[in-house]
């Protein structure tokens, strides 16, 4: 039932009629043009220009000289980019599992008709409204206050930085995913659970064979959101550790041990003008990576959804 959504627009007979089509089309400047113009300024033009500039050397967007694939070669041989790639992948893997597991368990418990479930829902969702920068500083004070008892600091230990980031992001996003799982769980028809009960299925069997296949659409969405959120994570990373600790390599360049891809691209832009092209090339690689991961995840989990 969900698959049709994106394709729906080609189903022309259902969505437009002759009576409406022409008059609306005549109002193009009013209805479509503002969004179209802003979209070109805010997305299409910067995107295409960014794609072009990734093959150039440039200081500003005006003075580009073509250098071919040199930026990409430099990007892939940059140890900080590779480090950021592994750090981000590992972080994404851990946080996807942690967030979805806790969110599902909470959602499952809260749909079991317990008292005050509305209040609990409200509390768990709340951290979502706080922005990444503010969240990062709230948690860095808390972590440092705890760690100083053990003579440690968040900024000097990459492992602690990693788990700190996982805890922060879990705290922020569990509530959001929980809401989506609750909506999914409430949409499972009651008859299915009763039928399973009559057939003699236990609680676990019902959960595994009836509930989970029926909430697959929610799982698809939550996996998609957590995957893209963790790969694109920037604000929280910047505010919590800012990439620290820093290790100086043999060639004098600096390697920030808890830096994720998005932050790495930003700091590459900030090194100096010779790195603008490399940073833009990294951004293109980053975009391709996120797009491929997100689309293949959608493709694989959509296949598992129950047809209703």
């Amino acid at each position: 039932m969900k698959k049709r959504k994106i394709k729906g627009i080609t189903d022309r007979n259902a969505v437009n009629s002759r009576l409406l089509r022409r008059p609306i089309q005549r109002c193009f400047p009013l209805f479509l043009l503002p969004t179209l113009a802003a979209f070109c300024i805010g997305f299409v033009y910067p995107f295409l220009q960014g794609l072009y500039l990734s093959f150039c050397n440039f200081l500003t967007t005006r003075d580009a000289t073509w250098v071919g694939l040199a930026n990409y070669v430099k990007a892939f041989s940059d140890p900080s980019f590779l480090r950021a790639f592994w750090f981000t992948s590992l972080f994404a893997l851990v946080s996807i599992v942690v967030i979805n597991l806790f969110a599902f368990v909470l959602a499952y418990a809260l749909t079991q008709k317990i008292k005050g479930s509305n209040l609990f829902r409200t509390v768990f969702f709340m951290p979502n409204l706080i922005g990444g920068i503010v969240l990062g500083y709230i948690w860095s004070t808390i972590f440092d206050a705890i760690l100083q008892n053990y003579g440690k600091q968040l900024a000097t230990d990459a492992t602690l930085g990693f788990w700190g980031l996982v805890i922060l992001v879990a705290w922020q996003q569990i509530g959001y995913m929980m809401i989506i799982y609750i909506a999914g769980l409430q949409a499972v028809p009651e008859e299915l659970n009763e039928a399973a009960k009559i057939d003699g299925a236990g609680r676990w069997q019902t959960l595994w064979h009836v509930t989970i296949p029926n909430v697959m659409p929610s799982i698809t969405i939550c996996l998609f959101l957590t995957l893209t959120n963790s790969f694109k994570l920037f604000d929280q990373n910047l505010a919590l550790t800012g990439g620290a600790p820093i290790r100086t390599l043999a060639d004098g360049s600096q390697l920030k041990l808890t830096e994720m891809l998005a932050l790495n691209i930003k700091s590459t832009f900030d090194i100096n003008q010779n790195w603008h092209g490399v940073a833009q090339a990294k951004a293109v690689v980053f975009f391709v990576l996120v797009a491929v991961l997100a689309l293949s995840q959608l493709y694989f989990t959509r296949k598992k959804e129950v047809q209703q």
Binding site: G8, I41, F43, F47, I114, G116, T141, A239, A283
Partner: protein, 288 residues
């Protein structure tokens, strides 16, 4: 029969009471970080650093001093950044809701080849990370003078259009055509049909999209950081990052006061309309 039904029910009651108690505990722990910020905003700088988790006592309690100090920390008034944040969020959200719902109606009802291509590009833009366009977008913003709080909503409309167009188009397609046809037969032009007939029907989706966009706009850091003239205009996230990241050593008590001031309004708004927010998020996600 009835006895057989009541016996397990009682057992479940004990289980659910235990679960409730457990949830109360987890919720209290969940709230602690925010409470901790609130408590620390009333303590001296030294006490925040050394006894972060302690309640303020007569020695460390400073009343509202931190709030007074925080208002002007970093030689930039906090209230000004709050005003800029508010203005940018409200105007951008309004612009996004109005323009993209109109565009979505056009896309769904006209569905010419051009409109469909535009729709697909919008969907595509949802998976593009901001880092891909950040350098060129800030260049474009400078060139077109879109680098002030008064004009940055146009950038937000452009970069935020993808999700909104996607959600609105999906919803418009589920609306029955007959109502709009009836309006057209009764002599309504497209403008009146949209504002008097379609827009009221779009209200639930408006709420969903509006909440998602406001949550993004209010907390967004990198886009205003790169596009705005930072010495003149700061939003709240920029202000917080500026104080801690580049301003040098900042009084931790005052910093906690600023953080608390920046999250308190959101939490108050949230408590008043949490039902709509949670419903809107759930509905928005299921549609996407």
């Amino acid at each position: 029969m009835s006895r057989a039904l009541t016996a397990p029910k009682k057992k479940r009651n004990i289980g659910s009471t235990l679960l409730t108690v457990l949830f109360v505990l987890v919720c209290i722990i969940y709230m602690l970080p925010v409470v901790e910020v609130g408590v620390n905003s009333f303590k001296t700088n030294a006490a925040v650093n050394t006894d972060t988790f302690a309640l303020p006592n007569s020695e460390t309690f400073v009343g509202f001093d931190n709030y007074v100090k925080g208002m002007n920390a970093g030689n930039y008034p906090f209230w000004l950044s709050a005003l800029y944040s508010l203005f940018i969020t409200v105007v951008s959200a309004f612009l996004i809701l109005l323009c993209t719902s109109m565009a979505a109606w056009y896309i769904a009802r006209v569905s010419s080849r051009f409109a469909r291509i535009f729709y697909y590009v919008c969907v595509f833009s949802m998976v593009v990370p901001f880092q891909m366009v950040m350098f060129t977008l800030s260049g474009t913003a400078d060139m077109l003078k879109l680098n002030t709080p008064w004009t940055i909503p146009i950038i937000y409309l452009g970069f935020g259009a993808g999700l909104a167009v996607f959600m609105f188009t999906g919803f418009v397609k589920s609306l029955p055509l007959e109502i709009e046809e009836a309006a057209a037969i009764d002599g309504c032009g497209p403008i009146r049909t949209f504002f008097c007939v379609v827009l009221p029907m779009l209200k639930p989706t408006m709420i969903s999209v509006g909440i998602l966009e406001v949550m993004w706009l209010w907390n967004d850091y990198l886009l205003p950081y790169l596009s705005l003239n930072r010495t003149k205009y700061m939003t709240i996230p920029m202000y917080v990052q500026y104080l801690k990241g580049s301003y040098g050593s900042v009084d931790m008590g005052a910093f906690m006061a600023i953080i608390f001031m920046s999250i308190l309004p959101i939490i108050v708004v949230y408590l008043f309309c949490q039902k709509h927010i949670i419903k809107g998020v759930a509905a928005g996600a299921v549609k996407g």
